[in-house]
Amino acid sequence: MDVQRFTTDVVVIGGGGAACRAAIEVSENGLDCMMLDKGRPGRSGATPCALWSIQAPFGPRGRDNRDTPDQFFEDMVRGGRFIGDQNITEIVAFDACDRILDMERYGVHFKKYDDGRFYQTPMPGQTYPRSCFMIENGQHMSTVLAKEVSRRDNIKVLKDFFVFGLLKNKDSVVGVVGMDMLSGEIVAVNAKSTVVATGGYTSMWGFSDNPPTLTGDGVAMAYRAGADIVDLEFNQYYGTDVIWPPSVRGTVVLYELMIEEFADGEITDKYGKPIIDKPLPIRDEAIKIIFNTIREGRGTEHGGVYFDTTKSPKGEEKVREVFKTMTPKHYQFLIDAAGIDLAKEPLEVAPASHYQCGGIYINERGQSTVDGLYACGECAGNFQGANRIAGTALCDTQTMGAQAGSCAAKDAKERGAAAIDEKDLESKLGVLKNFLSKKTKSIRPISIKEEILSTMDKYIAPFRDGKGMKKGLSVVESLKGEVPKISVPNIKKYNLDLMEAIEADLMMDTAELTFESALFRKESRGHHNRTDFPETDNKSWRCHTIATLKGNKPVYSKRDVIYTRIKPEDVK
């Protein structure tokens, strides 16, 4: 197999908010950067799917002058149910405003009051309204960041580029290997620092609201490279994603818009009875309520609840105005793709997989536990804790994205160059060669992928139990044995089946780690709800779950949470 080779100072894997911000910071530090995007810059990952909300504690420069970075810090710590690492939470809370101002400089438009203060909306989990309003939502943010990246001569972007392995030389990560989907070429990039910003793995579930490309490649690769992986059992669902009809399945419908200030509608059971009280609870609480309603047999025909604005005291026209102002694209998309007008009819919604709180374990510099390897954004783990509050994911991409980029760059300046270990590269290519080889009895990757997706849906649901998870784990184990039997057509350019085969291979590890982490933690907290251990056990489990590769199997351990400003014993 021919391999094209590149050398750079810092390589960033990803193309969304965190990856772009990290690459920009590397460029600011005067170093060369390569950004390897699985899709099209500005149109890949979850960032384009985001809505308007990105939190920053502007206080007197925003909506409520009582707000402070300390308050933002405290909101995130409480929201995370006290297992977010506060050394990282501090950076997010205290850098947020500056990073928003950076975004503005790059060209993102924020809604402002006439006097120039930032307009901010209230969202559950915020003591004071703190969500800044990006007028053209996450899509515009992605486009602007991608443009900023392209402006800089010292960032080279490879698009439609699927990274499938981290390359190691002894104990350090020295670069990556990937496949250029457009040309079909295999490429190895040798770098002094490698930043993983590959996003979450929400699309390992069948019912998800993230693009199908988000299969958690980064977490699996980092695990295989020996990095500690943290808190994979905290899987955030979004409570009200469209479940029917299929053409719009997975589209987000914001339950946060049901408050009096906006549409003043109701989430109801199949009989039309409202099930969620206002003030609206934060996500983990809302999901529990919805999930229980469905479980108790009061769900709709297709397994959801109703998102119903028809009985709003505001009337159809005012409700339509709300959607057209706050989520115009979603509103129109539902009409175009399914003929549904949100202001006129109830919609069937249910909890779908939405975000991963855990991931690659990092310190406040964005460093993983492996030399040369950094992580930021959703693929990094330990700051959201057990539950993420709205508006912090985008904030994380900009604050920790810049931080990881900066530290990766500074370290690259100190670190000498280390060559790629050719044996390691060969072993990674061997997996591909196997997929491309003809077999008498072969399997298509999509059949394995579909089984993982339905296994995750079934056994790692908002509510889970030991018996079910053990079943799910055994399915994953048996699928692992099937992966080498995959055979894909021998096509060079844009080989979808080959891409899915590699995804299926990587997903095996992430699925196994998720099941085993969820089995390891014997309590319920935030987004990890075990019906066989329904209580929160702060004596034994106010800690992280760590998974590390030892030999060829993962080992699990507890690790202390880092508390800086707020110790759990100091608060009620």
């Binding site: 890949s44 384009p48 490309t213 053409s247 694209k329 175009d336 096509i491 350019k493």
Partner: protein, 109 residues
């Protein structure tokens, strides 16, 4: 239940193997109207593992990654429905060089 079918004639082209583009016909069983995006995923899943198209979707009709030419007109495949018992023609959307089948290397971001 009445069986419905959508007949799709899709432009295929692999620059490594084909001298020029040609059309391949598919007959897909459907239960009701489906978006073009859904149709392509169904073909990929059950009819033809070699068909190339972009799978990214943004769930709100904004990113335009999914655009194709449907019966001569460029549309977003995620937001355009096709009725059962209809015949359609799908081609790459333009806006860049054809990589393979319906996948185009968009020259602008």
């Amino acid at each position: 239940m009445e069986k419905s079918v959508i007949k799709a004639s899709i432009c295929r082209y692999d620059p490594d193997k084909d001298k020029e583009p040609y059309f391949q016909d598919y007959e897909v069983d459907v239960a009701g109207p489906v978006t073009v995006y859904e149709l392509l995923t169904m073909i990929h899943r059950s009819y033809d593992s070699t068909l190339a198209f972009r799978t990214y979707k943004c769930y709100k009709g904004m990113c335009t990654t999914c655009i194709v030419k449907l019966n001569g007109k460029v549309v977003k495949s995620c937001a355009t429905q096709v009725e059962p018992n209809s015949e359609i023609r799908l081609e790459p959307p333009g806006g860049g060089q054809v990589v393979r089948d319906l996948v185009v290397d968009f020259s602008k971001m």
